[in-house]
C-alpha cells in the first residue's frame, strides 16, 4: 500500500481534501519555481510566474525580476539595453552563478551524507541480527537488560577515565628527570609515578626483604 501519491497517476481535477490541497499547493509551487529557476539558468530565459495560494496570498517568481517582466509584457516594449542595465545584469548573473555553484555543492554533500546514513543503517541491521545486545531494548528480557546495564555503566566509567587521561596528556606534557631538570634530583610532590602492582607484596622482588613491611600487602 503506497504511503503517498507520488509517482502515482493523479486525476486532473480540483483536489477534494482541503489539507491535501494545501500540502499539494505548497510542494508544487516550490517545484514550479525550481523548474523556472533552472530554465533561466540553463537557457538564459526570462520568466515571470504569478500564483495565488488557496489562502489568497500571492507568490511570484521573476527573472530578472517580476516587475520588469510584467511591464515588458504589458507595454509590449522590447527590453531596454542601456549600458548600466547590462552592467547590473552582469553583476546579478555572476551572483546567481555563484549561488548555483554553492547549491550544487550542498546538494552533492547532502546526497553523500544520505548514502552514508543508509550504509550506517545497514550496519545496524547486521549488528542487530548478530548480537543480542544490539537489538532494540523492547525485545530484551529482564536479565539481559541487567547485563547490558552493567556493561554500559562500566563502559561509561572507562570513557570518563580515558577523557581524563586525554585532558592530562594535553595540558601537562610529561616531566622527565634528566639534565634539563632544574629540580636537582628532587621529585616534585605531585608527579605521578606509575605504580606496578606486580612487584609488590608476597610475590614481589623489587624491594629488599627488610622494606616489605608496610608496602607489601597493603596494595595487594
Amino acid at each position: 500500500m503506497r504511503k503517498s501519491k507520488g509517482r502515482q497517476k493523479i486525476e486532473m481535477v480540483k483536489m477534494p481534501n482541503d489539507s491535501n490541497l494545501q500540502v499539494t499547493f505548497s510542494k508544487r509551487r516550490s517545484g514550479l519555481f525550481k523548474k523556472a529557476s533552472e530554465l533561466c539558468t540553463l537557457c538564459g530565459a526570462e520568466i515571470g510566474i504569478i500564483v495565488f495560494s488557496p489562502g489568497k496570498k500571492v507568490f511570484s517568481f521573476g527573472h530578472p525580476c517580476v516587475e520588469t517582466i510584467i511591464d515588458r509584457f504589458l507595454t509590449r516594449n522590447p527590453p531596454q539595453n542601456s549600458g548600466t542595465l547590462q552592467l547590473i545584469e552582469a553583476h546579478r548573473n555572476a551572483s546567481v552563478r555563484e549561488h548555483n555553484v554553492q547549491l550544487t555543492q550542498l546538494t552533492n554533500q547532502l546526497e553523500a551524507e544520505k548514502k552514508r546514513g543508509e550504509a550506517l543503517n545497514r550496519m545496524r541491521k547486521a549488528g542487530q541480527a548478530e548480537h543480542w545486545w544490539e537489538a532494540p531494548i523492547e525485545g530484551l528480557g529482564l536479565q539481559q537488560l541487567e547485563q547490558l546495564k552493567g556493561s554500559l555503566e562500566e563502559l561509561k566509567k572507562n570513557v570518563a577515565k580515558q577523557a581524563d587521561r586525554l585532558l592530562i596528556q594535553n595540558s601537562n606534557p610529561p616531566q622527565f628527570f634528566g639534565a634539563g631538570n632544574s629540580n636537582h634530583g628532587v621529585i616534585p610532590f605531585d608527579t605521578i609515578i606509575p605504580y606496578d602492582t606486580k612487584n609488590v607484596g608476597l610475590s614481589g622482588n623489587a624491594m629488599p626483604h627488610t622494606y616489605n613491611h608496610g608496602y607489601g600487602r597493603g596494595f595487594f
Binding site: R28, E46, F52, N100, L145, A163
Partner: protein
C-alpha cells in the same frame, strides 16, 4: 525520460540549449496548469526567450489580464512579501539544503557513535577516540542507560502485578521469543540467557573459569571481564 544529471549552468552548446529550452518550457507550462487545476487557484506564466520576439504566455481561466490585474491591485507589501527572483530564490534553497545537511550529519554522527559504543562493549580500545568522540559517546551511553532503566522499571512493575494476581499490562511489545504471553517468566529468561552466554563464550574462546558462573547478579557480559579477555584494552588497569 533521461535521468542524466544536468549541470546547473548556462548550456553553451547552441543546439543542446535550444532543445532543452523547448522541452523544459513545455514541462513548465504543464506544471503551472496542473497546479492551477489541482488547487483551484489563479495563476499565469510569461516566458521570454532568445528564440522568439513574442513571449510565450499561459494563464488560468479568465486570462492573463485578469491575473495581472488582480496582482497589481494588491497593496505593494502583499505583492512583494512572497516575491522572489533568481538570487533570493537560490538563497532560500541554499538555506534549506544547509538545514537538511546539518540534520543528516547529526543523525549520521549518532549512528556512527552507536557503532563505536557497541564495538567498545566487545573490547575495542578507546584510544583512538578524540575528546569530542568521548563526549558524544558518554552522552549516547547515558541515553541508552536511561531507556534501559525505564524499561527495567516497566518489566518489574509487570512482574509485581503478576505476583499480586492482577492481569498484567502488556507493555512487553515484541519479545524475542515472539510469544503472546504478556511477559517472560524468570525461568524462560534464564534458559534463553544461558544459551546465549554459552554461545558467545564459545565464540570468544574464553577458558571456562570456575568463577564465571551463570545467572549471578554481578554477571557482566563475558567480554566485560577485564582480567580474562585478551581483547579488552588494559590501558586503564595497570
Amino acid at each position: 525520460m533521461t535521468r542524466k544529471k544536468v549541470k546547473l549552468a548556462y548550456i553553451t552548446n547552441d543546439s543542446a540549449r535550444k532543445a532543452t529550452f523547448k522541452k523544459r518550457k513545455k514541462g513548465l507550462l504543464k506544471k503551472v496548469s496542473e497546479l492551477s487545476t489541482l488547487c483551484g487557484i489563479k495563476s499565469c506564466a510569461i516566458i521570454y526567450s532568445p528564440y522568439d520576439s513574442q513571449p510565450e504566455v499561459w494563464a488560468s481561466e479568465h486570462g492573463i489580464q485578469h491575473v495581472l490585474g488582480l496582482f497589481k491591485n494588491m497593496p505593494e507589501m502583499e505583492q512583494t512579501k512572497k516575491m522572489v527572483n533568481q538570487e533570493s530564490f537560490l538563497k532560500q534553497r541554499i538555506a534549506k539544503a544547509n538545514e537538511q545537511l546539518k540534520k543528516q550529519q547529526k543523525d549520521n554522527r549518532e549512528k556512527e557513535m552507536t557503532e563505536v559504543m557497541f564495538q567498545s562493549l566487545t573490547g575495542k580500545s578507546l584510544h583512538n577516540l578524540t575528546m569530542m568522540d568521548l563526549n558524544d559517546l558518554g552522552w549516547l551511553i547515558d541515553q541508552n542507560l536511561k531507556n534501559i532503566y525505564r524499561r527495567i522499571g516497566q518489566l518489574n512493575k509487570v512482574a509485581q502485578k503478576q505476583v499480586q494476581g492482577e492481569p498484567a499490562a502488556a507493555k512487553t511489545e515484541g519479545t524475542m521469543v515472539g510469544s503472546t504471553s504478556t511477559s517472560t517468566t524468570p525461568s524462560e529468561m534464564n534458559v534463553d540467557t544461558m544459551q546465549r552466554q554459552q554461545w558467545f563464550m564459545d565464540m570468544m574462546n574464553l577458558p571456562q573459569e570456575n568463577n564465571m558462573g551463570f545467572g549471578g547478579d554481578e554477571m557482566m557480559l563475558p567480554f566485560g571481564d577485564n582480567s580474562h579477555n585478551a581483547l579488552w584494552s588494559n590501558a586503564f588497569f595497570p
